[in-house]
Structure formats: C-alpha cells, structure tokens
Amino acid sequence: MHLECNNLNFTYPGSKVAVIDNLSFSMKNPGFKAIFGPSGIGKTSLAKIVANSNTKIDGDIITESMDTILYSYNLERLPGWLSAGNHLNKVTPAGKEALKEELIHIFELYDLLDSRFSQLSMGQQNRMNLIRYLLQDFDLLILDESLANVDEKLRESIILAIKELFANKMFIYISHNLMEVSKFCSQILVFGKTSENKGCFMINGQDYKKNYQLDKHKLDITMLEIMNAF
C-alpha cells in the first residue's frame, strides 16, 4: 500500500498563488497518516485532489494497491426524510450488519438512531456521517475534520477502534489537534507556514494502538518536531 506524490502543483483558477507548490511525499503501509498544518495552507485541497482522480493537476499521484479512495468531511449531511438509523441501514452493504452494530456502539450513537439528522448535535452528526464511510469498501479513507465537535475522550476510543477494526486500510487524518496526530498517526505530513517560508516535512508519529505502551517522552519529541516544522 502506497500513496506517492511527485512535484504536485495546484492553483485555483483565477488565483495567483499556488495552493500546492511542488509537493512531493510518500505514505506507505496501512494505518493512520495525517496532514497537519496551519489553517488555509491547503490540506483540504490536497485531500480532494488525491481523492478525485479527475482533477486536472500538474505532477504525479501514484497509488499502489489502492483502488478506492474516499474523502469525507465534517459538513456533510444525511438526507432528512427518514431517521438517521434508517439511512444508515440503507447504505450498509449486505454482510456488514454486524460491523454496523459494532460501530454504532463504539460511536455511542445507539440512542440516536431514531432521530432525524437535523435533530442531532454537531458532534453526533459528524459521527453518524463517518460511520457511513467506514461501512463502504475503500482502501484509503480521508477524514477531513470528520471527528470535529466530538469530545476528546470519545474521539480517542473511536480512533483506536478504527485502527483495530480496519487494520489493513490506510487513513489520512486531517485535524488541528497536535497531540492527537502525534499520538495516533504513523506518518504526519506537516505543512509549514508559507509566510515563514517553511517547506513541507514528513514526520514519524507514535502510531499508538490499543494495549500498546505509549512512550510519553517520545510523544513529546514528536510534538516538538512538528511544532518546529510548522
């Protein structure tokens, strides 16, 4: 499993500055990867470009044994004419019912299946949305703030569960939580601030998993490394 970008460039039409400027990086093996960087640096843009093979770009994106790349984000909504649970059922492929039940428990949504999507709180909406994606066939799933508005405790147990349940899939996690990306991700693509002329670095994270021992010291070092890069 392998995602590689070589000399990627992208400029929005009508814009003068390139959002992605000669970017090269490579992410290997299943597990949680991250894209990290200041607001407005181009994380979402990069994610969309990777997920949408139809975009006209300058440069190469090479994906190896990854046929299906899905992009999810935190402003998505479920249709409103049925309860959220019903909509979930409708998009659950045959054979994945058990997985669905398990995810609902992990995501603590059991009591909310009868609610309409518009009646959910923001964090509940984001969780409901993410479950849908996890039930689909994918090789790489990009989570663009998909766990926004979820409390840290629950977020941690969700991330750990995903890592366990989908051990052979790749995830790209986009979040502004420094500690979280350092702790859970194996590779972190850090965008430096353009204004400070910092480039783009790939930093190795702690890749914490359930029942593993977390080395607090190493975590601090990773966090420091990232802080320096950005």
Partner: protein, 255 residues
Amino acid sequence: MLFKRIYQFLIVYTISILFLLMIKMVLSLSDYVIPGVPLIIETAGQVFKTYFFDVMNTLSITVLGQFMSIIMAFTVGIAGRKSSWIGSFIKVTAYNIQAYPIVALAPIIFILLGDGFISRLLIASMICYFPLLLSVLGIMATPVEDVEHFYIVTGQMRWQLEVKIRAFENLSKLTTVISGSATLAMAGTIVAEFIAANAGIGYSIRIALYQSDLAKILIALFVIGIIISMYQGVLETIGEQIKTKWSVSNQGEVI
C-alpha cells in the same frame, strides 16, 4: 386560515367593483358598458346558482388537471435536469411547446384527440404544467453538495435518490409552487372549456362574452374567486401537513 383567505378575497373583489363603478360614474358610462349595482344584483339572482355549479364542475377538472400537470412537470423536470444532450433536448421540446399559445395548438389537439374530455384535460394541464416545470427544473438541476457527496463518491447515487434529496431540501419551495399552481390549473381549465367544452364556467364565460354581458362576467369572477380561495386553502393545509410529516425540520427551529 381558510376564512382569512375568503375574507381577503372579498375585500379585493369589493375594491375592484368599487373601482369599476367609480370609473362608470366619472365617465358617466351607460349600463351596457359597465353594469350598475342593480343590474349586477339582478344578474346575480339569475345566474349565481348556475355559475356556482359550473365552477364546481370546472373545479373537478382542475383537480385532475393539476394532478396530471404535477406528474408531467416532474417527469419532464427530472428527465431534463441533466445538462446532457438528451436532457437539453427534452427541455427544448418542453419549452417550445410552451411558447405556442394553446389557441394555436387547439385545432391540432382536436384533430388528434377529438373534442371529448381528454382534449379538455390535456389543454388544462398543458397550461398549468409549464410554470411547475420551471420550478422543478430549477430545483432538480441544483446539486445539494453536502448531502449528495457521500452517495456520489461511493457510487450509490441513483436518479431516484438524487431527485428525492433535491425535492426534500426544497420542500417548502415545492409546496409553495404546487399549491400556487392551483390557480393556474383553474385558469387553464377555464381556457380549455372556453375553447373546447360544453360545460363548466369557461363555457358560460364564452356565452356571456358572446352576449357582451359584463355583469355575468363579474358574477363568474366572483364565484371563481371564492371557490379558488377555498381550494387553495385546502391545498396549503395539505402542504403544511406533508411538510411536518416528511420532515421534522420545523421542530428543529424551536430555539
């Protein structure tokens, strides 16, 4: 709600009549140009009952015609929502037919379908459907990105789902247009009767026009107005109920 509508209609009607009478007075026009109050009342006595049943007759066709035109508008609107060749072809057809005033198409319709019930219904729904179509097209052609994204990227998007999503997100616009189109269906039916039927208020209007009897026309307008107000009130109530049943978004806006 319903009473408010009727009440408001009565105000509008009274103002219009007063306005006409004022003109009659100012220009001192005779009764045969603009009928005076006694003549209007006398005429009302003669024709009110007949006209009432005529309008009820018309209303029955209106309901059917509106139903048909909703189906037609959705069929064409859904088929024509894509910017593909066939989509735009359907749109061009639908638009062009609409540009033709029904009076020009009527002879062809009669040749093809005879002058029975079907022709009358077809003409009524052709007049009513196009405005609906425009709204349906506008709504159906506008993606709802944040809801559709998931289904598109996971390859689960069917046209039925797309239509459902867009309709649901624009439910209040659709119910406004549909309940509003009742008046168009009524107007369409009356025109259809005017040129095609031997019953209904449109037919009576044709006769009154032939006799140049403005008093009768004023009575007809009155009966039409009252009954359309009632019909529309009913439709709006149904629309509200569909909205609250299908969605619960209203409840969401309590705070």
